[in-house]
Amino acid sequence: MLRQIEGSRAVAETVALCRPEVVCAYPISPQTHIIEAVGVMVKSGRLSPCEYINVESEFAAMSVSIGASAAGARAYTATASQGLLFMLEAVYNASGLGLPIVMTLANRAIGAPINIWNDHGDAMAARDAGWIQLFAETNQEAADLHVQAFRLAEELSVPVMVCMDGFILTHAVEGVDLMTQEEVDSFLPPYEPRQVLDPDDPVSIGAMVGPEAFEEVRYLAHLRQLDALALIPTIAESFATLTGRDSGGLVHPYRTDDAEVIVVALGSVLGTIKDAVDARRARGERIGVLGITTFRPFPRDGVRDALAGASRVVVVEKAFSVGGEGVVLTDVAMAVGGRDVTLHSVIAGLGGRPITQRALESVLERASRGDLERLTFLDLDEAAVSRERSRIAAARRTGPSAENVLYDRATQGSRVAQEQS
């Protein structure tokens, strides 16, 4: 049933169709609308049986999910940004224990400076936590991915994080074809835990493992992620059979067949990129797009194959390894390793800075001209940066850069305004 609906709402409705038994979350923008909506459904009895637990922190939210999952319940939670970091110890723990928890990550930047807007800094911070990370391009896909996530998680006993861009998706109202309960039920069997706390069959879960077996435990977790690489497309296919929608899977190539330049990205920015690419294609450029839906496990083969024909790859990404380069770039480089490809990392949209088609096109223009650097910050206010740098060079107590830049902006703005008047 197609509905004009807010992304958060669509996710909440879909999660509810997945019949989670314990939902526990702690509010943080931009995840709030999701958990509020699920809360109302539980409170009203529409989602039943389900325990909805308001906790005192994200750390508790993930911990409650761990307990619930270990006791055999389907557990769901959602967070973003600071919340993800606050629960990070438990995030690792959930995967270590092999608990198939599903979590929505409404991607948001990480402070300081505190910033509620979208980027992928949070997801990348948890990149190595042992969770499967799926990135939604649209709200339709965000909704669909949750259904697939539960099935994937439970089949493999691995937790899954569904990443959707904060505000851009979570707060956007658009048409989403919501599944029916019957459809979801036919797709998602009841949770059959691999291990469970049960007085009738007592076990000890969470043993202390020393050097004699730790490496094996980690390697087994890795193998399970590789199993996921095989399972994810299968699940996506059967999902497509059921719904007719191409949601999920490992990667989504777009007009890459003859492309010399391929732009790689995760999440909602793919829409803007596709528009830019369409425009350039119209002008005759052989350019395409590769959307990565499954970021962890990283679909190395899928990426390599999709990029096989390209001589230039531009990774547009919303996160950045300070002191290093683009996080996704590193993985892409690994995938195309050994081939003669020029790689670019375009860091864009940090802390919610809009990624405009115009800005993108100018970067792509530079790329096709061959004068794009390896690492580019889209729309960077070079003047603000150099002012702050000279201030730091001049004096010791310069105060926080964030405030300084903002101050400059404000005063600069009024000076410009004065000059114009």
Partner: protein
Amino acid sequence: MTKRPVRFYQVGSFAVGNRLLTDDQRTVQSDPNRTNSIDSGHRACQGCGEALGARYALDAAMRAAAGRVVTVNATGCLEVFSTPYPETSWRVPWLHSLFGNAPAVATGVAAALRVKGREDVRVVGQAGDGGTVDIGFGTLSGMFERNDDVLFICYDNEGYMNTGVQRSAATPPAARTATTDAVGPEPGNVFGQGKDLPRIAMAHDIAYVATATVADLHDLEHKVEHAMTLRGARYIHILVPCPLGWGSASSDTIKVARLAKESGLFPVFEAENGRVTSVSPIRRRTPVEEYLRLQRRYAHLFGAHPRPDIVTRLQEIADENIARYGLVNDETEEIPVLEEAKEMVH
């Protein structure tokens, strides 16, 4: 209500068992078929009070819940010595997640059981004092405040023992730990305000809060069993001496716990819905010094450079507890009820 001691049967209800008592008056521990929730082969130090306390408490919980118990354990000695791969000592379903999240994990387990309609299965969360009063305090308070159906047990050995005996918020003043060394003008731990978790728990008005020690098994078991009759958040704080961290003889574990109570330093009481409902009176009042002298963590108060001033301050703490909880019972012992004795014969 504290269980009234059964008297006049030689050891009455002071000892673990008593062949003269009926089965239901005996402790769980006296039963050869007790669960042994934590079994032999664990790697706790010789004379570990925590290993003992955990078995006491969980076996009692198991009896009270007819074997339908699942446990959640925080990181700490209890977890480490019980489950080094590939061996576990637990005979009850047991889950360890992290150091600071046991109360929340327990909440999750309870929620799962509730949603699955398996409320016959009861949840016991457990942690050391570090996992309870320090790093787990936030999740514990949340669990209390929501009144989740969890019995949480703190095994208080007054320090971070697993990491090598560092100070916790439950470390008593003047005690030496690896991070509060016995050097300088104020040797050992500071005389702070203390973080009295039982009282903080009471401030949440939860159904049940109790303290106990490994030295009084009947009392401890009664408290666990009583707690198991209730629903919602419940908290039991059990003093478990640590021979390693306290520097007491491994054979003195129970004695030290007994003196902690008899000196007044560790008040043993029960509270329901935020109100103290009973206290375990001191039976043989003992000066704190007798308690302190058994432990090397207080050795700097005696010996070559004694600190009677500090001992006095500790005695004042004990006296304050005695006054606050009314631990000294002035009433004279009742005359033996001989009928009570007679009952047992037939």
